[in-house]
Symmetry: C3
């Protein structure tokens, strides 16, 4: 069985972090699929998905890590080179297991979107739930 | 067809590497699924999966790389900030193809767990095999 | 429904980038699967997949990023340690949604192979399309 859903989120500025966990959990429940996987994907070349804790100090650490690994300046490809590079390292493509109609994740494991482009924008997210 | 299985592994200390390849291969055989995919996932916000060669010198290189990219110290979020950052960069979420009842992988491609937290612990791994 | 296909590509030298987008799109159309996912996987421990824009300046930036994050020299495991480390950070494992018989991706989102080993070689890619 396949259940698909498209959702939209709006980011306000560069670096915005949006927690998608509860939205994904409620769509998985809506799907009535008990066991399988949920695939979450953003069709955007400057978007990032991450899966870990989302505590306020750690948010600052995540921003620092992105700047350490792929700094904003020093690239050949225009102003948003870093956006593409971050989306390459942390791609907007994540799969989680589904059991008994619920998403399996760790207590501190949240799935969140990071706006890696130079400003906020409307972002599309495609969910595919496959199972029985 | 969906086949699911939960396994547990125990790490002894920070940085422990546990090769999961043979365990995953035997569960795929147990599933009787011939063609499809196997999704392997650890519901832990400080866990890492990696897929490449697992030779003893390369183990040292992997530890150095993790320290280069996300060092143990210098973060705002307590003692295990680096654990979360490493789990973000190398998430515990991997999908491999299944053909003729066997996992497809390269000769030197092993799937292994890296204990990214500050000490050893009991870790859960969820396998979902989807196919025919 | 499951549709599988094996393709081969040949790289000529280290760092070669091969755009797989159109090949994957045509195999998804061939599969006659309307809604689901396509999983793309290279069974090679020194191969990289990336998903973002593939513009000529950005190609240079991508090469610089790989060298910044996992430099060619300075490792214990022989001449291709960097190849394994890059394949670990950017694994050859990618999943995209399929809707109405087409791959969903962003306008600037191309899926490409990067030859991370020390020279060109013949590379295998396994596609698994799951859906209805």
């Amino acid at each position: 069985m396949i259940f698909t859903k498209t959702i939209y989120i709006e980011t306000e500025k560069k670096g915005d972090i949006i927690n998608l966990t509860h939205k994904i959990e409620s769509i998985v429940q809506e799907s009535k699929i008990n066991d399988g996987i949920v695939h979450v994907f953003a069709p955007h070349a400057t978007a990032v998905f991450a899966l870990t804790e989302l505590e306020s100090n750690l948010r600052e650490d995540i921003k620092k890590l992105l700047e350490d690994v792929a700094p904003e300046v020093g690239w050949k490809h225009g102003a948003n080179a870093f956006s593409h590079l971050r989306s390459m390292l942390l791609p907007p493509d994540k799969t989680l297991p589904v059991r008994n109609g619920r998403v399996i994740r760790g207590t501190w494991q949240d799935l969140f979107f990071i706006e890696a482009d130079t400003s906020g924008r409307l972002r599309k997210i495609e969910l595919t739930i496959i199972g029985e």
